[in-house]
């Protein structure tokens, strides 16, 4: 599995895109994760308005209660090696916590949006809550973690998450606090959206989805995880398009805001150099170079989509990115 070509979406058959667009939960179980990622990137060329994305949400939302994890539990116990489990947990646990963090930290961004943006964000909040519940069930019913509350289960998977996870996600919490004090401030909104939608959802999430879902599909295992996480990826495509549209509009209305995009990326890339533990990707079929290239191409695509160029110092930082971000 190599990296995607940079800054250009591979031509996709309209039929496949139609399938991704309209599939219900049973249908999405059969869709290739690479096609869902192409679907995300196709949307970046149009950047639909918030009400169109809201309509898409009404059509695409799925019911987490429809997932049955019993086959996943058998696969986990019988068909997955210890090394694969460790790699899988190192990556998936970042998602378990990431979904929870983006759920609780989205609210300040809603406060200063237009009415249409507020409507869309209510749908995104519901998505993120459902993603949090999805991971909670996966960890309880498949991995076997115990806990009465969502936080109990999160505490149980924290051991698999790198300490440096709290870099990008602590930044999100604090940028959210700054936004709460002045929800309409354009610079604070751009900073927040760059961290949340461009970096966490657009770079980290999509890369991790490609790695873990590609692994499940190739091995033919964890069907409920595959189904729910593939549907999650499609949800993320709306979130990323929504955020990038806001960034695109903001930097075109006021080009000085490009500096905020750059400053946030600079801080995120700087934190990325502090690797406190290594994530082993090989059991899932990836090597470090492949993951690094995947992150870099995802980042360049998203930055390109909002009409911003990376400054030379940022380009140099991207070239040296560590592939540990998936775990945090």
């Amino acid at each position: 599995m190599g990296a995607l070509p940079e800054n250009e979406a591979k031509p996709v058959a309209a039929e496949i895109m139609h399938t991704v667009d309209t599939a219900d939960l049973k249908g999405i179980a059969k869709v290739d994760i690479d096609d869902v990622i192409d679907y995300v990137h196709q949307g970046l060329e149009r950047l639909p308005d918030p009400m169109s994305l809201y309509s898409l949400y009404l059509k695409q939302r799925w019911n987490v209660d429809d997932l049955d994890f019993s086959q996943d539990r058998r696969d986990w116990n019988e068909r997955i090696s210890e090394a694969e489990k460790q790699s899988f947990l190192a990556i998936a646990s970042g998602f378990h916590h990431g979904e929870r963090q983006v759920e609780v930290d989205l609210v300040p961004f809603m406060l200063g949006g237009t009415d249409e943006e507020k409507v869309f964000i209510t749908s995104q909040l519901e998505d993120e809550a459902r993603h949090t519940v999805f991971f909670d069930r996966f960890y309880k019913q498949v991995v076997g973690l115990e806990g009465e509350t969502i936080m109990d289960v999160l505490d149980g998977s924290w051991q698999h998450v790198s300490e440096t996870f709290s870099g990008a996600f602590g930044l999100l919490a604090y940028l959210g606090d700054a936004l709460k004090r002045d929800p309409e401030d354009p610079s604070l909104r751009v900073r927040f959206a760059t961290n949340y939608m461009l970096w966490i959802e657009g770079v980290l999430a999509l890369s991790v989805q490609k790695i873990t879902l590609g692994y499940c599909r190739k091995r033919g295992i964890l069907p409920a995880y595959y189904t729910g996480f593939n549907a999650t990826t499609r949800d993320e495509s709306r979130h990323v398009q929504f955020g990038l549209k806001i960034l695109h509009t903001a930097v075109h209305e006021d080009p000085r805001l490009v500096k905020d995009v750059h400053d946030v990326l600079r801080t995120l890339l700087r934190m990325n150099g502090a690797v406190s533990r290594t994530v082993t990707y090989e059991p899932l079929g990836w090597d470090r170079e492949g993951v690094r290239a995947l992150f870099a191409s995802q980042l360049k695509r998203k930055v390109h989509a909002i009409g911003v160029e990376l400054s030379p110092d940022l380009q140099a930082m991207v070239a040296k990115m560590e592939p540990e971000m998936a775990g945090g």
Binding site: E163, S166, G167, G170, L171, A173, R266, M271, A274, R277
Partner: protein, 156 residues
């Protein structure tokens, strides 16, 4: 062992000593060297001020506050003082939390996770500048539970 009242001048001096002493080799071995190298690079160039604030101290109606003002020069603490709120807010960064959250952190709750969960909040300072040095601050604060502390709720 002598205990120091939480967030007093004597406690601040102990905090300074423990931060400057740094972590044990045993603790450092739990994280990769690349992480400590990053912190060393950041701290070598860091001179500035950080104030820590605690609110809702248990004695009284629940709004009592206390502040510690730390001065860093090239990553070392060169000054540590118990100060007023007004003076605390002259620092470049003010990190503040309720007493019950501090108590959790002082009992070993992971500092980085505590920041992510907003147990402490950045009440003053540029968020990006703070996060450019985040793991340096996290590991400095992770030295604070080593101070033998007498907490107000256990006061005789």
């Amino acid at each position: 062992m002598q205990q120091y009242d939480f967030f007093t001048q004597q406690w601040a001096e102990q905090a300074k000593a423990f931060i400057n002493q740094g972590h044990t080799a045993e603790y450092k071995a739990t994280k990769l060297q690349t992480y400590w190298d990053w912190i060393d690079r950041v701290s070598a160039n860091y001179s500035g001020t950080l104030a820590l604030g605690v609110t809702h101290l248990p004695d009284g109606p629940g709004l009592e506050t206390a502040f510690i003002h730390l001065t860093f020069a090239n990553g070392q603490v060169t000054g540590a003082r118990a100060v007023s709120a007004q003076e605390a807010f002259t620092a470049e960064f003010v990190l503040q939390g309720k007493y019950k959250e501090w108590h959790t952190l002082m009992n070993g709750f992971e500092i980085g996770k505590g920041i992510m969960y907003r147990k402490l909040r950045l009440e003053k300072g540029d968020v990006l500048e703070f996060f450019n040095r985040i793991f340096f601050f996290v590991e400095a604060l992770a030295c604070l539970p080593k101070v033998p502390t007498h907490f107000p709720e256990t006061a005789a």
